[in-house]
Symmetry: C2
Subunit: 194 residues, 2 copies
Amino acid sequence: MINYPIKRKSQVKTTSYANLGMTLESDIEATNTYYLNMGIAVIHKKPTPIQVVNVSYPARNKAKITEAYYKTPSTTDFNGIYHGKYIDFDAKETNSTTSMPLKNVHEHQIDHLRNVYKQGGIAFLIVHFKKYNQYFLLPAEVLFSFWDLQYDKEKGRKSIPYSAFQEKAYIIPFGFQPRLDYIKVIDQFLSSKF
Amino acid sequence: MINYPIKRKSQVKTTSYANLGMTLESDIEATNTYYLNMGIAVIHKKPTPIQVVNVSYPARNKAKITEAYYKTPSTTDFNGIYHGKYIDFDAKETNSTTSMPLKNVHEHQIDHLRNVYKQGGIAFLIVHFKKYNQYFLLPAEVLFSFWDLQYDKEKGRKSIPYSAFQEKAYIIPFGFQPRLDYIKVIDQFLSSKF
């Protein structure tokens, strides 16, 4: 006598587990929720900026947007606070096994990270090398140096080599709870700096 | 001989000057732009969160959102960094001459400000009493005490009296550049605390 309904229920659960690690963004959001619930840090993803052109009101107090367009964000996607410190970062993924192309980063994001860095904020990228299933915290200073170097005629290149990640970035371990414990890496990173 | 077109043009200019101070949000955004350009602070308004339901692609690489709805934000509207410190606030306006109704503040905003406060962030509201044309920086602690007190059967009230703003909040002077120099007030506020 097998209880099929219960089996099915557990199968549904298994399926949803398979979504773990599906996208970098959702892994970071799950991590942020964990940090928030545990009182470790308050970090949120900013909403995607949308230019609303037309709104209709099919019912009272119910606005329905009928025409809108995605806008280019002027900042990075994530920011917040950890132990009184301002945190600011963006998340990038690459299929490359040799480097992260700099075209993955927008000029306005570099400008924003520079402004944050000048104000004493903790600025970085989280970079996922999908082929290796490796996650790195790349400090903004390293990003800036490669960004500026790309305009150098001799030494310039349009990407950050994987070897630079191994040397100058910090590995973020992928786990169950939290999935991407980047705050732990920030502690490590800060203690190496000061 | 009067040159009507020129006159009209200058009238248009006058009209657009009249928009200065039109809305609290635009005054804060103009102030933030000034802070950013002067390297004083990096503070941005978060985009309004929108739930996108349908997108069409009338042209390649051109997404047109055809159905979407406003979502309730889970945080406050403004955050950023000033001198390494995390800043977080929301802006409220009231037509009342006697108090700011607590219904102007959402429960999730209180929760968010509490989380920020616990992490050591600088959390507050900017409140505009329109009838007096006065702007106040209300520290989160003062907001929390009135918020919690509203559930007290004897002393509870559903608003923060204007007198409490005069006693416990800080006046933000309205100027030309920056329009609402709340960072100056934060300096004053921090020096009184520490």
